[in-house]
């Protein structure tokens, strides 16, 4: 197993390096001269050259990349062209908001998805299955950000049940913080709940018709034990993979959700920086998001070895 974990660690590191090279080259490929942009359109050539030297743009691309990565590792992503504040500070302010939103949404997705998935698998061909499947079909087909807009209009503005926008840190005001994040997390989690539901349902259906489930029933085990102890336990292995793969979509969804609910998260920072062509910020944000994606997927793989005993020996599921 140690070999497998080491192998995965090495693979992830390689992926991260490749991704960072793509980000770095991609940003260099952007139109316009960052030095010119920073110094201002009317600056004289000498000033521009000075800015260029300050930014290190006069050095070879390899040296630039190594310097950039060296700084990035210690959390230094340079300064924002637009505001002049260090990018790391901007990340520090926005990242926690998005992480809280993502975790909350994923929890909702898992609870809702697992529950409806199990119901659909257990009550096959009867009304609870139709209801659960209808829910996932709805959540997968309807644009959830549109639901978010309507939810703001009806649940927040007209009925006043939820705040329409804004963010309160759950660390300062735990209850209010959670309350403020509930509607956004629900909207963000809905699509993912549907994906988890479908995956849970199909793998539960498959598990429940497996030979070892029949053997368990032949032992005289009750229905609940068969469904939860054996069926759900085996299905969790597949669901875990899906949760890892869902993260990409979750991050994309977070950008829209933050926009609708005016949350000061990394999604808002991303959009602002794209529309103002704030290159150091774009570079940092993209790098942080891809790194997060890679690291979380690595963690999911490690989690696998805990859930699936087969992984502990061979390093792969047959």
């Amino acid at each position: 197993m140690a070999r497998y974990l080491f192998h995965r660690l090495w693979q992830s590191a390689l992926t991260l390096v490749l991704a960072s090279i793509i980000v770095f080259i991609g940003v260099r490929a952007l139109p316009g001269d960052p030095a010119l942009a920073m110094a201002g359109e009317e600056a004289d050539p000498a000033t521009v050259a000075a800015v260029r030297a300050e930014l290190g743009l006069d050095e070879s691309i390899v040296v630039q990349y190594l310097k950039f990565m060296g700084n990035a590792v210690v959390g230094d992503f340079g300064k924002s062209i637009r505001t002049g504040t260090p990018v790391s500070e901007m990340l520090g302010a926005t990242l926690p908001v998005t992480i809280q939103l993502a975790i909350y949404a994923m929890l909702i997705a898992l609870l809702l998805g697992l529950a409806t998935g199990v119901v659909a698998a257990v009550f096959r061909g009867r009304w609870p299955e139709w209801t659960a499947n209808g829910f996932s079909l709805f959540a997968l087909s309807v644009p959830t950000f549109w639901l978010g807009i309507l939810a703001v209009l009806y649940l927040s503005v007209q009925l006043g049940w939820f705040p329409a926008s804004g963010y309160v840190s759950p660390f300062e005001h735990p209850l209010r913080g959670v309350y403020y994040l509930t509607l956004p997390a629900l909207i963000l989690g809905l699509t993912h709940a549907a994906v988890v539901q479908r995956q849970t349902r199909s793998s539960m259906v498959e598990t429940l018709t497996a030979d070892f489930v029949r053997t368990a029933r032949a032992k005289g085990l009750g229905r609940a034990a068969v469904i939860f102890r054996i069926g759900l336990r085996n299905s969790l292995i597949v669901v875990t993979t899906i949760v890892g793969l869902q993260l990409g979509g979750l991050i994309a969804g977070a950008v829209v959700t933050e926009r609708i609910f005016s949350l000061p998260g990394i999604g808002k920072l991303t959009l602002d920086s794209v529309f103002t062509r704030d290159y150091p910020v774009i570079q940092a944000v993209v790098l942080v998001i891809t790194a997060a994606y890679i690291v979380i997927n690595l963690l999911v793989d490690f989690l696998y070895t805990v859930i699936d005993p087969r992984m502990r020996v061979s390093g792969r599921t047959s």
Binding site: Q11, L14, T15, L16, L18, A19, I22, G26, A29, L30, P31, L137, L140, S141, V142, P143, F145, W146, I149, L150, L153, V157, L245, G248, G249, I251, A252, V255, V256, R259, I260, T270, L271, V274, F275, R277, I282, V286, I289, T290, Y293, I294
Partner: protein, 295 residues
């Protein structure tokens, strides 16, 4: 001579006939198919079906309610006909969907075949897929928008790239499975080359998995296009897009909600059509169910 076989052959139609028959007997699949048909007709014939050009403004009649004379679904803040814009928006959504599916198929299928067939290529292609997966489609779109500005091509490329890795994985897994099958082993003993095995045996058998994956990509691309255009990273105004319509409608939601309702419903219907039809197709193509019948 065959009559003495104890397992009598179950009379079954051809593979294709059986799939179609199974689809036809699945009510949800039929509903999905009909929805798709409506959506595709609406999209393809939008220029002829729409009563007005999508960007034509009628300054004298903004914020018309639905079902007013001349404007079946009402007008928006600039007096543009919502029905015409929904029809053209549907067309744009389908364009992005089809383009991104094509991109995912054209790049993903060959890479998946190669990675599944040759072990030494697998490491390279899998790493490539991992790197691509690490960039969520929105991030790719952000990058592309920063370079090119938005646009329909931008959205299609971003969504296509985002779906290439899963297509690679699906085709690779199928290739790995089929490569070990006895019929490929038999082809090897007949001295069939890699081209004949991949093109003649593996690809035709992997086709159903590819089609199913395409029906998964389509609705997610349609939703993705809406999100990108909503954020200003996809199709740019004044070109009609369902996402832009939602974004515009959000500005004056307190005056009238209708210009935001119809594009939302349109997106939902497109996705519902693909999801329902895709599910039914998957069930119909499922080798497990057909295998059981075959015995």
């Amino acid at each position: 001579m065959t009559a003495v076989d104890p397992v009598a052959p179950v009379a079954l139609g051809r593979v294709r006939g059986r799939v179609l028959r199974k689809l036809w007997h699945n009510p949800l699949g039929v509903v999905g198919g009909v929805l798709l048909l409506i959506v595709i007709v609406a999209g393809v014939f939008a220029p002829w079906l729409a009563p007005y050009p999508p960007s034509q403004v009628h300054f004298t009649t903004p914020f018309q309610q639905p079902f007013t004379v001349g404007f079946a679904l009402g007008t928006d803040d600039l007096g543009r006909d919502v029905l015409s814009r929904v029809l053209h928006g549907t067309r744009a959504s389908l364009e992005v969907g089809v383009l991104s599916v094509l991109l995912a198929v054209v790049v993903g299928v060959p890479l998946g075949l190669l990675a599944g067939y040759w072990r030494w290529l697998d490491a390279v292609v899998s790493r490539l897929a991992d790197v691509m997966l690490a960039f969520p489609f929105l991030i790719v779109a952000v990058g592309l928008a920063a370079i090119n500005g938005g646009g329909i091509g931008n959205a299609a490329i971003a969504l296509g790239i985002a779906n290439i890795p899963t297509m690679i994985r699906v085709v690779r897994a199928e290739t790995l499975r089929l490569k070990e099958s006895d019929f490929v082993l038999a082809a090897h003993t007949m001295d069939a080359g890699a081209g004949r095995i991949l093109g003649g045996h593996v690809l035709p058998n992997a086709l159903s998995a590819i089609i199913v994956q395409a029906t998964v990509i389509m609705p997610s691309a349609v939703l993705g296009e809406a999100i990108l255009s909503f954020l200003g990273l996809g199709i740019q105004p004044p070109d009609p897009s369902l996402g832009i319509m939602l974004s515009d409608a959000q500005q004056y939601l307190f005056r009238t909600v209708w210009p935001g309702v119809f594009p939302g419903i349109a997106i939902a219907l497109i996705c519902l059509g693909f999801n329902l039809f895709g599910d039914a197709l998957r069930d119909a193509l499922d080798p497990k169910t057909s295998h059981r019948e075959g015995r």
